[in-house]
Symmetry: C2
Subunit: 399 residues, 2 copies
């Protein structure tokens, strides 16, 4: 057993967009079933005899993957759907880890009768390489030193995440995937799956993402990383687990949260509402400020700063064309049925990026998530996402 | 003589948008004249006998204003145009302080034959209250203590800025203004002028701004202030002038710069271009990252952190309706001819905000600045801004 997951998964907390999301979630639940209580599994996918080479150099001799599955793999091993999570997500996509626990981040979409119907599909969701929810990453123990990797965890890419997922699927007996599905960083993984293993990806669903990370998105990640690095508690990444750079990580989250939402949704929810004057200080007393602080505190409680740095760097390196030739040709080689979803209010991955995918992919259709909520709409507008996903899988995913 | 300006103006540096802006500036200059070498003036507008009461409480017994004028005030004192600067701007709108110095921030628009034709108009530009370019603000000496105000500088609002400008104009013998013109924070001042002194504002030009600061814009300012406050060199604002919180101020600037531009313009200028590997480190080696660092360093060299905090708080408090009644009625009372300019790619003050102004102002027309450059287009697309401004002043400004 590798020590890779020894840091242990952190407590999972999911943010909802207040009553709106809860209402939508309930309205979906009313018609569909839950996968119930699920237990994350851990499996080793690399060993000294079978190390994981990394795209940017070096290798990992031990990689443990934390994953969850929902439904049953059929005898031919070809009814699997891989669901890929976003930056601060985890393997916990559906169900609950126990009574009273929060449901998985895409629970309204995964279950009996739901868009990802577990009566038909074997749904697999794993924490990414470099994550902090149970898969080997900066919070894991380096077997060579007996200490946490921390800032010494090697650089990794989305392609490395995909290779770890491939090894996981091999060990689970999954052959060709019926679909690979993901939004945001999850969409990067889905696209890389389709580009790297086109023969194994029966269909592709990429939501709120583009073929390569833009200067705009890189710039925002860069500022977030600088906020973390500037925190005196960061110590170049060598902080103690119980002394995280909470201020820097909170700032990084606040910057990100703004770009995950939109002008209109923030205006509708917060406008110029103010907090009581007692909170007056250097910081403005607006509700939006309080909300951003709260989001930062919450993330610092559940996430790891080195992991945030590592994952955002992997996102910045996302470029389907890198090392493969012109993007047009790369996309032309991804011939599986594809569903590209975009959100008109997404300021982080604007629709121009999905349009580029759509123009390049030979067999793609487009679905628009109509929402004021910006990028995060794929984690909020469950009925819309469910409807598009269900229809696409029914009509286009291979059986 | 008040000690208010004793901190002295910092060296003025203006950013251009590379060759593009320079080219446009030259193309404008080719047809029009410069105001030549200008010298900033300083005048006292408050004294213990005539203190400046502040909107949020307290008062200032000494206020010095640094200003520049271009052109001549006519005998009736009614050919003045007040130009209001944005967050990190100064009184230096046009001309040069000496041979080889950088021109003022709106130089292509102000001069003989230019849109703000100094053969017709007496153009006044002053550094705002709370600024760090020569008008009393956090970097000034508090006469009561003999030390810099620093974090003890009282809170002030855009309305306080306007009152300081009013006192300046009174002392200059300016009666009714032919126009008040400003973009961004300058637009807030222009709007407040029109709401506070409608009888004195012959016409209004507000560019890239709305009637009240949005949750989105407040959130971005909040994150910027938190980045400053989190810098160990900030010391709650009590830093030494030669030991500014450069990291925090640089981060604040980086966040702002992203929102001053746009997805498209950053993509076109930087895309995924990388720097040589020797700069590799925690921070990604992308050109956009280098650009943002550079912008931060430049601002930290020329601007003051407490001033940044104070001005952004004043911006967040911007709300034409505050204390005046429903916004609709406030706008309805601003009957002067008005020109609202917006930029379709402005993510910070999107066109929905200008539309609100347009719908509420009784005598307003709209002009769109077509540009990929986002909010900063009003400091880049000089020919367009000039054409709209010239036409509006010729057709609608009172003579």
């Amino acid at each position: 057993m590798s020590g890779g997951g020894a840091g242990g998964p952190r407590r999972l907390v999911h943010e909802t967009w207040g009553d709106h999301a809860a209402l939508l979630a309930r309205s979906v639940h009313a018609h569909d079933g839950s996968v119930g209580v699920v237990r994350p599994q851990v499996i080793d996918v690399a060993s000294p005899a079978d190390p994981l080479p990394l795209e940017l150099g070096g290798r990992l001799d031990h990689v443990a993957v934390t994953y969850e599955t929902y439904g049953e793999l059929d005898a031919r091993g070809d009814n699997a759907v891989l669901v890929c999570h976003a930056l601060t997500g985890s393997a916990h996509a559906a169900g609950r880890h126990g009574e009273g626990e929060v449901p998985g981040w895409w629970d309204p979409l995964v279950g009996p009768g739901k868009a990802l119907d577990v009566r038909e599909h074997f749904v697999v969701s794993s924490n990414v390489l470099g994550g902090c929810y149970g898969t080997t990453g900066p919070t894991s123990i380096d077997p060579a030193s007996g200490r946490r990797y921390g800032p010494d965890f090697p650089r990794f890419t989305v392609r490395d995440m995909v290779e770890v997922q491939r090894r996981l699927l091999d060990r689970l007996g999954v052959g060709r995937l019926r679909a690979v599905v993901g939004g945001s960083m999850g969409g990067m993984q889905a696209l890389e799956w389709a580009a790297t293993h086109p023969e194994r990806v029966g269909s592709l669903v990429a939501i709120g993402i583009g073929a390569r990370h833009s200067a705009w998105a890189i710039g925002l990640n860069e500022v977030a990383r600088r906020a973390i690095a500037a925190d005196p508690d960061f110590h170049g990444g060598a902080y103690r687990p119980d002394r995280q750079p909470e201020t820097g990580l909170g700032l990084a989250r606040a910057i990100a949260m703004l770009t995950y939402r939109s002008f209109d949704s923030l205006e509708a929810k917060f406008g110029r509402e103010r907090r009581p004057a007692e909170e007056e200080g250097l910081e403005a007393s607006f509700e939006i400020a309080s909300y951003l602080r709260y989001q930062g505190v919450k993330l610092a409680q559940r996430f790891d700063a080195n992991t945030y740095v590592g994952l955002t760097r992997a996102m910045d390196d996302h470029d389907l064309a890198a090392g493969r030739g012109p993007l047009r040709e790369v996309l032309a080689g991804m011939r599986m049925p594809s569903l590209v979803m975009g959100i008109p209010t997404d300021v982080l991955y604007p629709e121009v990026e999905q349009r580029q995918l759509l123009e390049g992919l030979p067999d793609a259709r487009y679905a628009r998530i109509v929402s004021p909520h910006g990028h995060d709409a794929f984690l909020i507008e469950f009925p819309q996402v469910a409807a598009h996903l269900r229809r696409f899988l029914q009509e286009r995913a291979p059986r």
